[in-house]
Amino acid sequence: MLTIATGNKAVAAAVKQVSPEVIAAYPITPQTEIVEQIAEYVTNGELKSQYIPVESEHSAMAACIGASITGVRTFTATSSHGLLYMHEMVNWAAGGRLPIVMANVNRALGPGWNIWAEHTDSMQERDTGWLQVYVSTVQEAYDTTLMAFRIAEHNDVLLPVMVNLDGFSLSHINQSLETVELGDFIPPLRLPHAIDVKNPRGYGPLTGPEEYFKFRWDIERSMRDSVKVIESTENEFSRRFGRSYGVTDDYQCEDADVVVVSMGTLGKEAEVSIDLLRKEGIKAGSMRIRWLRPFPKLDLKGRDVVVIDRDYSFGYGGILADAVRSKCRADPYSVIAGLGGQEVTYDDIAGFIRGRRPGEESWFGVTPDV
């Protein structure tokens, strides 16, 4: 079916088709359209889920955990402070090896209250054991939400997946959307450790120093195994539905002398910058990182790298720049831009690339000549 939809509605449309048995969610701007659309689907019978309007985000994740361990599919959505409020339970979901899928509409943190796009919220969850993917178009939001369930539920993964979309820039923009006939793309969920009263076990009891670390390694092992699952899932999606994405979305990187690395909608707008720069004779390329966890292998050898961080780790630096620096042994020009929904246009991004100073960090709007 070919129509137009917002990022939020696209996520809700995907969830409707996947039909989780339990959805527990709490409203927060700019995620609200997702939960409202789901509530409407449930009310008019299009979606046969148990929809629990919980009293807080901490409870939303706790409810998802409770549902998920019985072996059913679950979903929730949140943003910003909601995500941070559920932080303890976000950790619990990954540690509990539960294939929960959550849409996070990236939004800045207060104070002051700011409802616009920033990645710090999900970046602060990067250590939790959740897989994380960042999308940049409405179509991608829909497709990736579908794929997220298949990846999370794969026997080699059994870890929760967070699908991130930029607040307002993507959650509220209308773009074209083609929905698919799912068929058996997402196999039925068989959670090996689901509660079974005929085979009673204790879940997550006191675990001593001689055992605990083994469970932590098990999470990491699955995180590494998920790389192949992500690849095979995306290949299968491409085979069936004709669209492919990859762990990074590379635009004109093959012969590039300089590559700009970023995530979300900025990563898509950066392609317009690349077109501009190429006309000027600058061989630039854009590498939009989609899967942040597990962190991908990036091909950045022999070129200048500009990293745009729509986030920050105070007293340290841009989180993506840090990952690129240490994982790829590159010396990026780190630009901090787009915090709190700060406007960053393709002209600005072209400027970052033209004026790059490898090894330095600039704050757009603060540092002179960024």
């Binding site: 137009i4 930029d166 923009i173 209308n174 773009q175 909608t265 898509k268 707008e269 392609e271 393709y346």
Partner: protein, 175 residues
């Protein structure tokens, strides 16, 4: 790329007008995006929505700084907002009804959307529906085809008075 900025007040349907326009352009087999700028707006406060239409995929998400067309659904907004800001040289303005106002030499068209809506009793919660007739006016201006405009309206609204309102606006707008 053709860029349109729509000014309205919260609750008047400006955001939906943007979506309708994008859907109509989409049915014309073009690429289109539509999005509002959300401030701390409440019902009655000025709201801005953006539409981009292009023959190739649109990868720009930032706000429209130099629109080709300004649409104003509520002329009283012009007392508090500079609706002409950034309008490209040669750009056009479409107003809801006439108003003596310095349009700074830009070509300005107007059609009385409010009267069209009231005539058809196209009113919800006390407010006349302006977003469906305005699409008819935009079709007359050639932004989208009238067939696609009517298709988009019927896809989003079941009440056929909406299509009638668009047709009336199409008839009444003098280019």
């Amino acid at each position: 790329m053709y860029e349109i900025r729509i000014h309205s007040r919260g609750g008047q349907g400006g955001v939906t007008a943007a979506k309708l326009l994008a859907l109509a352009a989409f049915r014309d087999h073009k690429y289109a995006t539509a999005f509002p700028f959300y401030g701390a707006e409440r019902r009655g406060a000025p709201v801005v929505s953006f539409v981009r239409i292009d023959e190739s995929p649109i990868r720009v998400y930032s706000q429209i700084k130099k629109p080709d067309l300004i649409v104003v659904l509520d002329n009283s907004i012009m007392d508090v907002v500079d609706v002409l800001q950034g309008l490209k040289p040669g750009g056009e303005v479409l107003l809801n009804g006439t108003l003596p106002h310095d349009m700074k030499g830009f070509k300005t068209l107007s059609v009385d959307l409010t009267t069209i809506a009231l005539r058809l009793n196209l009113v919800v919660a006390g407010s006349p529906i302006l977003n469906t007739p305005v699409i008819g006016a935009l079709a007359k201006m050639g932004i989208v085809s009238m067939d696609s405009a009517k298709l988009a309206i019927s896809e989003m609204f079941s009440d056929d008075r909406n299509v009638k309102a668009a047709e009336a606006a199409y008839q009444e707008l003098v280019l």
